[in-house]
Symmetry: C2
Subunit: 208 residues, 2 copies
């Protein structure tokens, strides 16, 4: 595959998914760090690339863009071992990626954002009880599934694991307690033991 | 393809997507109407089929289930003209389906749910201003994309159009004004002109 360009924010789990897969596929890439907090994704320059104003964004060739983290994972992985050969298993990978974007990320990633990126007294902290309740429901579904499995689909590491690992492993940043989910913790260990695994940078700046 | 079974609620846009595609593919199916409001999706019997407790759910063969509406669309469409031949176009179909589930459905479908399924004085009506604002952002992204295109991807009707049509065409149920989006309205007409198109039942019970 040709080198590509990623527009992303390194501490974002959605952006980290793309970096992890690119590293594991050994695809050469250029990373353009985007300042979301500073408003770059709302500029006319960026909206011309992605009208939905989000990161990550993959520039496949000059001027050709693909948005949505899990669609980017699919695009990059289609010919790799991280996208299954069987139709039903491919559909199950997508099932877990849609679960991630609908039932998991809006709670677990948003709780982390509020706790690590906003000031301690911010009004959005009032959202946390609901986010913790709904996020815990998603973690319970994952825990039950992983109780008898090594990975999410076909007992083989796939882009479904990458999609779910990104915010799950950092869930404690948002106030979740991973100690309550032993199967998830073992699965996190299996993901981190994969070849060419790279860590997500911490969202919490280290103390000076 | 063998006959399959769908667990769904007919007035749900997510469930309607699956019915529309099955009709257009001429795949025989059995539809089991599920009473979400009555709590059937939270029963042990249903959670054994789908631990995430949502509809639609496709029973591919006895005891083999697939959840998430857009993953079901992919599974059913993979060998059909509604799933493109080119890798980048396939990724674009997924991009729009993830857009639908993350940036569109949580606002446009939820506004419709509040306005048509809850009593007029329900506390959740306080969510409507935010839902209308965020849903309008999603409609603006769609309008801009469709201004120069017949369909979402490769100017050809695909499961991306089915995924986005379901709640978009019914957006006025939730208080959106489709008259402000002429390109979307023309696209709705093109979707409704497809072979074997079937309508979604109205969420508003007709007056006695």
């Amino acid at each position: 595959m040709n080198p590509c360009t990623v527009y992303g924010m390194s501490v974002s789990g959605n952006c980290y998914k793309v970096r992890l897969l690119l590293e594991q596929l050994r695809v050469p890439y250029r990373w353009i760090e985007v300042d979301i907090i500073g408003g770059f994704t709302r500029t006319a320059e960026y909206l011309a690339k992605n009208p939905n104003g989000r990161v990550p964004l993959l520039e496949i060739e000059p001027g050709q863009y693909l948005a949505e983290s899990d669609a980017i994972l699919y695009y990059l992985a289609e010919d790799s071992p991280f996208w299954p050969h069987q139709r039903r298993q491919r559909a199950e990978v997508l099932q877990w990626m849609f679960f991630e974007q609908y039932s998991h990320e809006p709670y677990i990633a948003v709780a982390r954002f509020i706790c690590t990126m906003l000031p301690p007294g911010h009004a959005r902290r009032s959202e946390l009880p609901r986010l913790l309740e709904r996020g815990a429901q998603a973690l319970a579904v994952m825990e039950e599934h992983l109780r008898t499995r090594q990975f999410f689909v076909a007992d083989s590491y796939s882009i479904a694991d990458i999609a779910l690992y990104a915010y799950t492993h950092a869930a404690e940043d948002g106030g979740f307690r991973l100690g309550e989910y032993p199967a998830i913790r073992k699965w996190i260990g299996r993901v981190e033991a994969q070849a060419r695994f790279v860590r997500m940078p911490s969202a919490v700046p280290p103390a000076a």
